[in-house]
Subunit: 347 residues, 2 copies
DNA sequence: CTGAAAGCGCTAACAG
DNA sequence: CTGTTAGCGCTTTCAG
């Protein structure tokens, strides 16, 4: 096998080459590749042998031109945020590439402008779309007010979102998301079971619906267990410094014995405060984060964190994609997955 | 502008549409796009107006078919290693995507098999190559014994490596790399300047030439300053647990006051040991890592780390790519870039 | 400087 | 079940 493929011809074999070798017409070879069930067994086998001997693979450009589809999905990527623990894109991208290849798709990366304004990403989408470079998009950043989904909907561009359409609950595009409240509920329950009663929340500002959802998981669990939340919540920016500051204030004013955080970044801020005060994460004050970042995995003594099932998310995204691009079968609009809790030394 | 582009036609405009609108032949439109200098000024302007009005963009598939080039570069990605701090891939990927788009290229992601054996990635390359899906590859993992470079060279597949050809110093493919020894020299010098004399090394096993290079930066700097390295070096696997263990042994047996590590992962292992022994990273024992991962950035009290100039690497990679695919101009075989040191609380 | 003709490799539609 | 015909949208000859 590797012998056969070991020398790349100057110009790769075409349908015609295979057809000649197998003694059939070009169309028959095409059918052998795309609709094998149409061929008689012996013909099929003969063609397949010729294909193997020649190491034939259909020319993508020609196929794309003819079928008006590139078998490529576009994925916009943002710059990594320095100084945060939010690098989970990596994990998602890898899973997406893998899941896509299983259905014959490849992932094409692109970036918008560097301004940070999502409006400026739009031309990136537009060019790809108008040049028929991709069949669909996967968008990952569907926070409230993000124009991408609306924009894509407007031009009837096929896309699947990782993230709920917060803008518009009855948006008609397919989406996949992770139940944030379930995640923080897991964390809060875990802490309560460990005997904690004064459990503080550090989350994002109110305009983040994603953040409000995660917060809801904490507050509803506290209430359900009959625990007070008064004075125990803080809403800040998603930076280590904010988490550090917020946890300092909370410790002074509300004396919590544990913190549930909306992100690993904020949780790291809490660890900073604890280190400064000579408190031990875990034995003295418990902390949980969100995303199971590499930071959570390697920081001493290990940060307990809610882990999003990104592999599953990718699989569901690809399913939705296939449904969008292939023959539509039972259109599932939205899929909500449940995260898990990874317990480590900090709790 | 956004008005004009705001409605995607059922089927995008073609060259013929533009030609009709501008009252010229299809050829002339093609020239207007690809060789504007061939047109008379007034014709050019007329055509460009028609292009803008119609929101015309050349159909990629058709262009690819005709020019036998996809304007796509393939980038193989590995699964994220859990439990390490080695997630710098997405910083590089982002930079690469950006640099590529500046010269009209897009990045296509693919994965090999999941076995971890690099041999199994080869079919991934092969398929992409034989189906003319990509024009070239960027490979990022050129450790000793990795078959990719040889394999690609064998089939005369254009590629650029991020990483030196350790196998074969006079390999003929272009590469870009970062000077690891310069990085650890920076770290070691920094520690010496802070007054440290017993500075230990924790690195990788000897079969990693990359690791040996980083080690050399430490040892040559120590020697140059007249400091002993005897009993101060340890070579282990790249895991947090190994770093923890090695630093424990070194502290007991050689009493170093500082550690230079070959990776942030190992450095985190050292932080674990320090935390367990009630020692403070920084004031009590200094530690430096390598890669300036998010972990280094957010862990208390901040991990001093060598930062690779990945943005520059990407730019150089794309330069080499352009040189490979476009008209060859001055073939620079290899480019070696210098890292910087980011000083934080741990030193 | 502009236009006409040819064809890249493939698949959809139809004919045998 | 297999072969023939046509054409996707573009660029590369080569004439005018």
């Amino acid at each position: 096998m590797s012998r056969i493929l070991s020398r790349l011809p100057v110009t790769p074999p075409t349908l015609a080459d295979v057809a000649e070798r197998a003694g059939v017409s070009r169309q028959t070879v095409s059918n052998a590749v795309n609709n094998p069930e149409l061929l008689r067994d012996d013909t099929l086998q003969r063609v397949q042998e010729a294909i193997a001997e020649l190491g034939y693979l259909p020319n993508r450009a020609a196929r794309n031109l003819r079928t008006r589809s590139s078998h490529l999905v576009g994925l916009p990527i943002k710059a990594v945020e320095e100084g945060t623990a939010n690098a989970q894109m990596d994990r998602f991208v890898h899973s997406l590439v893998e899941a896509s290849s299983a259905v014959g798709y490849h992932v094409l990366l692109f970036t918008g402008a560097q301004t940070g304004d999502p409006e400026d990403d739009l031309p990136g989408y537009d060019d790809l779309l108008r040049s028929t470079a991709v069949d669909a998009f996967v968008v990952t950043d569907t926070y409230l007010g993000n124009p991408q989904a609306d924009w894509l909907n407007d031009r009837r561009a096929p896309f699947v979102a990782f993230g709920r359409p917060w803008n518009d609950p009855d948006a008609r595009h397919p989406w996949v998301d992770v139940d944030g409240a379930a995640g923080t509920e897991l964390a809060t329950t875990h802490l309560i079971d460990k005997g904690h009663e004064r459990i503080a929340w550090i989350g994002w500002r109110k305009d983040s619906l994603l953040g409000e959802e995660r917060r809801a998981g904490w507050s509803r669990t506290m209430r359900a267990r009959g625990l007070s939340t008064t004075g125990l919540a803080s809403r800040v920016e998603d930076t280590v410094a904010s988490g550090r500051e917020a946890s300092g204030v909370l410790l002074d004013e509300a004396h919590p014995s544990a913190f549930v955080c909306a992100s690993d970044t904020l949780a790291m801020g809490v660890l900073h405060t604890l280190a400064e005060r000579g408190l031990r994460a875990g034995p003295d004050v418990a902390v949980t984060g969100f995303d199971d970042s590499q930071v959570a995995q390697v920081v001493p003594p290990g940060l307990t964190s809610v882990r999003q099932p990104l592999e599953e998310v990718a699989v569901e995204v690809v399913k939705a994609l296939a449904n969008l691009l292939g023959p539509p079968s039972g259109d599932t609009r939205g899929v909500l997955l449940t995260p898990t809790l990874v317990v480590r030394g900090s709790s």
